[in-house]
């Protein structure tokens, strides 16, 4: 047959038709469908041996117990541990998403690096650890040789009291620099308040679980205050069972209908920064109605009634101050809270069996105000809730061993005599350890940066400091910055050298006494996976660095590695005896044991204890019976001081040095004499003309967004509502009435302008926002990290105009004057 066109067409058609009769098309269809089910770009997670490793979360000072599920070498899920005292079972969303912080490569530094691009551009080239040590040690040695070790400064964000923090402090001393600063935290306020009123040095210990009336002044119980795992677990317990038979009442004092405020049994909304006045108003009602604990006040407190000093002057006592100045009507004027509410709140608080007033400001990652704390603590004292079950406990400090006494060399001892840049601990700020805002100002206000080399540990001050962007400017002036961050955060991007730490799942580390916990707890986390990249535990790096700097510095670090240093401190735990290293969820640590009962420690030697701590990750001492009153308060009067003798002394000393007026001005004090020694309310100084900036901006924190130096795991952005963040814009929550004044509608773009800057946000009309206040969420607005976090929303810290808190000098970040301008 000849191949004609017709034949050809017929053959093709016939062929096609014929193939339909074969299994081929069906097989192909099936194969293609199977291919869609096994697309090569859809990952197939390899399986393997399943295992679970117990550790402790280090993402915040809360230190919850975590159980990490693994398949072979891969960690696949983090869960809360039920065999850990802090958080029986649950953890917070940040901890839950922790694996993304481990495995998201673009968030992390994969090895030591040197800056390659401009500062802030985030371009680095990898170098070896040896080279990295040479660079830092060389620079430090040079400075030391020049006799200016004080030009080395460190910002340390590791929680106070942890071993790595102790080593960093020690390194600074050994090198000879006094300029060791820390980002502010609520624990600073607690520490100072406790020192002044109780003379104790232990952390704040709120016995929440045993309380029947929790009156929280601003503490974001559900926003991440304290150890979130612990507080939220308590929250669940409080709401167990029949609502009419609930034992515990929760009252939240806060200006915004936050989760805590909404979920509490009662919400009281004073103007921001007037919490102290409200507490004193409650005190007024309690004193006037005679509902206060007369026995505690008489036996264990001083400064309640007026007294006459040795010189014969009459001093005002707390009682008179409160009765004169803080009647419900007077307080209503300050706070905007209805006087009736104040009275009923006071009665409720005073008539509870075990009330506790908790002080806080959102999460614990920003400082509070000293006098506010004192007001709240005075309330606890008034009702006798100090050293009483369900109130504020006064446990002994955690018995960790001190590190051996450091012998500093000649260069260092000269350097240590130089004044601190932040003036903390001087007569102006007599009780303050560290004032990073002053540190920033000292750099920004001098023509040449007094700091030559800045070491940044576990902190991202560029982002987290409420300083209107001051620290960023300071970073630009500092000639050399070394970051130890495992993450590509804003501060690290400004650094010249990166010595990356391992993430919390790759290293051994400790957590010491989670914020607010009522019993001492030492948590030990361990490497859950081998370090993924060429990173090293900063604890080890500090020790190694000390040796690289020189023998005289390295001599102060006699440990082989970080673990040895940890052991050296933990030795004290063993010596103190009685600590438990395992936890039975049937015997919660907060349940008061009668002496001699309850679980016994099972270890015989330190090594045994250490081994058990490594597997269990904990050492703790359950709550025991109230302590004897004798010697409990280490104040000058030996009692709880409503009126602090230390403050009186400090003001007097400073006044003697310079004039009284200048002293008070420098200490940012408006009150004088006796009032200044007691809890009182001072209106923050207006930073700007209120007609130009009629509104106030208040940053707020959320449980489901990390606002500290740890980046938010991308998973968290699933939990953010579309009226909190939409594409690249975050929202300001504003009361509809306030918005109406400016003719603003939901979702509208607006500029929030403060005297120091402006931010563009969208408007979220929120009935639960106090009129006149603009609420901006903290945690958005990163300019570093990867596409999951970068460029999303704005960081309210950038427009904060912070005043100084009286006496303490901490930034008053809750009172920024702003205005709204439509874009």
């Amino acid at each position: 047959m000849k191949l004609t066109r017709r034949n050809f067409i017929a053959a093709v058609i016939g062929g096609v038709a014929g193939i339909q009769a074969t299994p081929l098309p069906w097989k192909l269809t099936d194969d293609v469908a199977i291919w869609t089910q096994n697309w090569p770009w859809v990952p197939v997670p390899p399986t393997g041996e399943f295992a679970e490793v117990s550790s402790v979360c280090n993402l915040c000072p809360g230190g919850c117990g975590i159980a990490v599920k693994k398949v072979d070498e891969r960690a696949i899920k983090i869960e809360g541990r039920t065999d850990y005292p802090v958080n029986p079972g649950g953890i917070c969303p940040v901890g839950m998403g922790g694996l993304q912080l481990l495995y998201d490569e673009s968030l992390r530094f994969t090895g030591p690096m040197k800056r390659a691009g401009l500062r802030g551009a985030g371009q680095f080239t990898e170098i070896s650890w040896g080279e990295a040590f040479d660079i830092v040690a060389g620079r430090i040695s040079t400075l030391r040789k020049k006799g200016m070790p004080e030009a080395i400064a460190a910002v340390d964000g590791n929680p106070e009291g942890t071993t790595v923090s102790a080593l960093i402090k020690r390194l600074m001393r050994a090198m000879g620099s006094p300029n060791y600063v820390r980002p502010p935290s609520i624990t600073d306020t607690y520490r100072m308040g406790n020192l002044l009123m109780q003379g104790t040095l232990s952390p704040m210990a709120y016995d929440l679980e045993n309380s029947d009336y929790v009156l929280s002044f601003g503490a974001g119980l559900l926003e991440g205050w304290g150890a979130p795992g612990r507080v939220m677990n308590a929250w669940g317990m409080w709401h167990d069972g029949n609502p009419s038979k609930r034992k515990t009442r929760i009252v939240q004092v806060e200006s915004r209908a936050s989760n805590t405020a909404s979920k509490a049994d009662m919400w009281v909304a004073p103007r921001p920064g007037t919490d102290g006045a409200l507490a004193l108003g409650l005190a007024h009602v309690i004193i006037k109605s005679g509902q206060y604990d007369a026995r505690f006040v008489a036996e264990h407190s001083s400064g309640f009634d007026d007294w006459r000093s040795l010189e014969g002057t009459t001093h005002t006592g707390f009682k008179r101050l409160v009765l004169e100045k803080y009647s419900p009507e007077q307080v209503a004027k300050i706070t905007g809270v209805n006087p009736k509410t104040i009275v009923s709140l006071a009665k409720g608080f005073a008539s509870a069996k075990a009330p506790v007033a908790v002080y806080g400001k959102g999460k614990d990652s920003l400082n509070g105000s000293l006098y506010e704390f004192m007001a709240v603590q005075s309330l606890n004292a008034l009702v006798g809730s100090i050293n009483r079950s369900g109130g504020v406990l006064l446990p002994d400090p955690i018995p960790l061993s001190n590190l051996p006494i450091l012998k500093v060399d000649a260069i260092a001892s000269e350097g240590l005599k130089k004044p601190r840049l932040d003036q903390a601990g001087t007569m102006r700020y007599p009780f303050t350890d560290s004032l990073i805002n002053n540190f920033t100002d000292a750099i920004n206000n001098s023509p040449k940066s007094p700091v030559d080399t800045l070491l940044v540990f576990s902190a991202n001050p560029f982002f987290t400091l409420p300083d209107g962007g001051g620290f960023k400017n300071a970073l630009e002036k500092i000639p050399f910055i070394v970051s130890f961050s495992p993450y590509r955060d804003e501060t690290a991007n400004m650094a010249d050298l990166i010595l990356p730490d391992c993430t919390y799942l790759e290293k051994i580390n400790d957590t010491v006494w989670p914020t607010g916990l009522q019993y001492p707890l030492y948590g030990l986390s361990k490497p859950v996976v081998e370090p993924l990249y060429n990173t090293r535990n900063t604890g080890d790096v500090v020790i190694e660095l000390s040796r690289a700097i020189g023998e005289s510095v390295g001599a102060g670090f006699p440990w082989e590695n970080f673990e040895e240093a940890l052991q050296a401190r933990a030795k004290g735990l063993f010596d103190a005896g009685g600590g438990l290293v395992s936890y039975d969820s049937d015997a919660p640590a907060w349940q008061r044991k009668t002496a001699g009962k309850g679980p016994k420690p099972g270890y015989k030697s330190f090594d045994e204890m250490w081994e058990e701590m490594q597997s269990g990750g904990m050492w703790y001492r359950p709550v025991s019976s109230p302590k004897s009153w004798k010697g409990l308060f280490n104040t000058p009067s030996g009692k709880f001081e409503f009126s602090s003798k230390l403050i009186a002394q400090a003001i007097e000393d400073y006044s003697n040095k310079i004039s009284k007026k200048a002293a008070l001005k420098n200490m940012s004090l408006a009150a004088i004499d006796d009032e200044a020694c007691m809890a009182h309310y001072e209106a923050p100084k207006a930073g700007a003309d209120s007609s130009a900036y009629p509104l106030r901006m208040l940053p707020y924190e959320m449980m489901n967004l990390a606002s500290g130096w740890i980046p938010s795991p991308p998973f968290l952005y699933k939990t953010i509502f579309e009226n909190q963040l939409l594409k690249d814009k975050s929202f300001a929550a504003v009361n509809p009435k306030t918005a109406a004044k400016y003719n603003l509608k939901e979702g509208e773009l607006v500029a929030v302008k403060s005297p120091v800057g402006e931010l563009q946000v969208r408007i979220n009309l929120f009935e639960g926002a106090m009129p006149g206040i603009v609420y901006l969420p903290l945690g958005f607005g990163h300019t570093a990290y990867d596409e999951f976090l970068k460029g999303k929303g704005v960081n309210p810290n950038n427009i904060v105009q912070a005043g100084q808190d009286p006496i303490s000098g901490y930034p008053v970040w809750w009172n920024t004057p702003v205005k709204l301008v439509k874009v």
Partner: protein
């Protein structure tokens, strides 16, 4: 150039004129092709559809096009089964329009599903309780029927008719067309109904939910009725459009009038039932779900005006115009009425798809808006382009209007 392909005894425009006429439609097709490529290659993220608007523009297009294409089966039914010989003059364009609508809809559905390659799972793993399965089966089968009905029309092409086997095949097919027409009617009835049923059975969406008969909610029957009420009108519109562009009379008025009259009766019946349906829904299903009629229209651009439009402007009004002999005999009114009728049905489909999804059921959920992307429009318009192209090619090369020669004698 292509004169040997043109039918005998009719006048057609020049090849160039025809070429330029096709350009805009080809452009639409090219736009659609690019859109389709992007949607298949990169996925449906190219659209603005979302988990809220799981069905959107494409499904509205699909349902509209299938309803409008109902002229094919219904005219076939009237011609071959009911023996309305007059309609032989319009059955061929009706079939072609039907074929265009159904094939276009199928193509769109193929892009609309997230895993087109697994599309055949509908048949293989069929869940017979799903109205969409009924729709898919019937549409697929009916598309085969339409193809079979289309074949003899193609084979009437001058060149193809010269081939004996093909000619005989065409004629033989034509002879038993009644059988196919009957099958097509059966299939169409069920898929038009099932398309309505698809929404009526969504009992958890009070806006769409309807009660009904056995497994079929009322929307099943309403959709059938509305489709056969508007299908003939769409056929009329398409012939009128062809007449307009070719500047010729192509179909005798008697056929058009007959279709218009039938449409009038069906539309009137539909309106009565639809109003009853609305009332039954407003006083039955809505309050039972704890909602009110107004509560559906509180937010967003979708207001009660849509319902008013659907019922009064695009329902009762065209029904009256078509019902009154003077109305339907006037060319202008006839076209307006047909347009309104078709719009009303499309509006009805839009309400059932987009508005149903836009209205949140949970009281604390929010209202969502939706605007299609250019990729979505592209694919929608490509179907229109494809329709114009195929229909004008059919008109040019096939004798689809039997009375064309008679009505337009070539005087030379």
């Amino acid at each position: 150039m292509d004169s040997p392909l043109l039918p005998h005894g009719v006048k057609r425009c020049s090849t160039w004129a025809f070429f330029f006429w096709t350009l805009p439609w080809l452009a639409l097709l090219a736009w659609g092709g690019l859109s389709a490529f992007l949607c298949l290659w990169k996925g449906l993220n190219q659209t603005n559809m979302s988990n809220v608007f799981a069905f959107a523009l494409w499904i509205v297009f699909d349902l509209a096009v299938i309803a409008l294409g109902a002229g094919a089966f219904f005219t076939g039914f009237l011609t071959y089964i009911m023996g309305q010989k007059e309609l032989k003059n319009i059955i061929k364009p009706a079939v072609i329009i039907g074929f265009i609508c159904y094939s276009g809809a199928m193509a769109m559905l193929g892009i609309d599903i997230g895993q087109p390659i697994r599309g055949w799972f509908i048949f293989w793993h069929a869940n017979i309780h799903s109205m969409l399965v009924e729709v898919s089966f019937c549409i697929t089968c009916y598309l085969m029927v339409l193809a079979i009905e289309f074949i003899p029309i193609i084979l009437e092409n001058r060149k193809l008719e010269e081939i004996k086997e093909l000619r005989i095949f065409g004629h033989s097919l034509h002879e038993i067309m009644a059988v196919f027409a009957a099958t097509g009617t059966f299939l169409s009835f069920f898929h038009q109904g099932s398309l309505g049923g698809m929404f009526g059975v969504m009992y958890a969406r009070p806006f769409a939910a309807r009660e009904g008969f056995y497994i079929w909610p009322w929307t099943f029957f309403l959709f059938v009725l509305s489709a056969i009420a508007c299908g003939p009108c769409f056929t009329i519109l398409c012939t009128k459009l062809t007449e307009f562009f070719s500047r010729k009379k192509l179909v005798p008025d008697s056929a058009i009038q007959l279709l218009a009259k039938i449409s009038a009766w069906l539309l009137s019946l539909y309106m009565v039932l639809k109003i009853a349906d609305y009332l039954g829904w407003m006083y039955g299903i809505i309050p039972r779900s704890g909602l009110t009629f107004e509560s559906f229209f509180r937010e967003g651009p979708y207001g009660v005006y849509l319902v008013v439009c659907e019922i009064i402007v695009c329902g009762i009004l065209p029904a009256i115009i078509l019902m009154v002999p003077k109305g339907r005999q006037n060319q202008g009114w006839l076209i307006i009425a047909c347009l309104l009728n078709c719009t009303g049905i499309v509006l009805n489909r839009f309400l059932f798809i987009v508005v149903t999804l836009a209205i949140p059921v949970m009281p604390f959920d929010r209202f969502w808006g939706y605007l299609p992307t250019w990729q979505e429009w592209g694919i929608g318009f490509a179907v229109i382009g494809y329709g114009f192209l195929l229909f004008s090619a059919a008109y040019r090369y096939l004798p689809i209007f039997p009375k064309e020669r008679e009505l337009n004698p070539i005087t030379e």
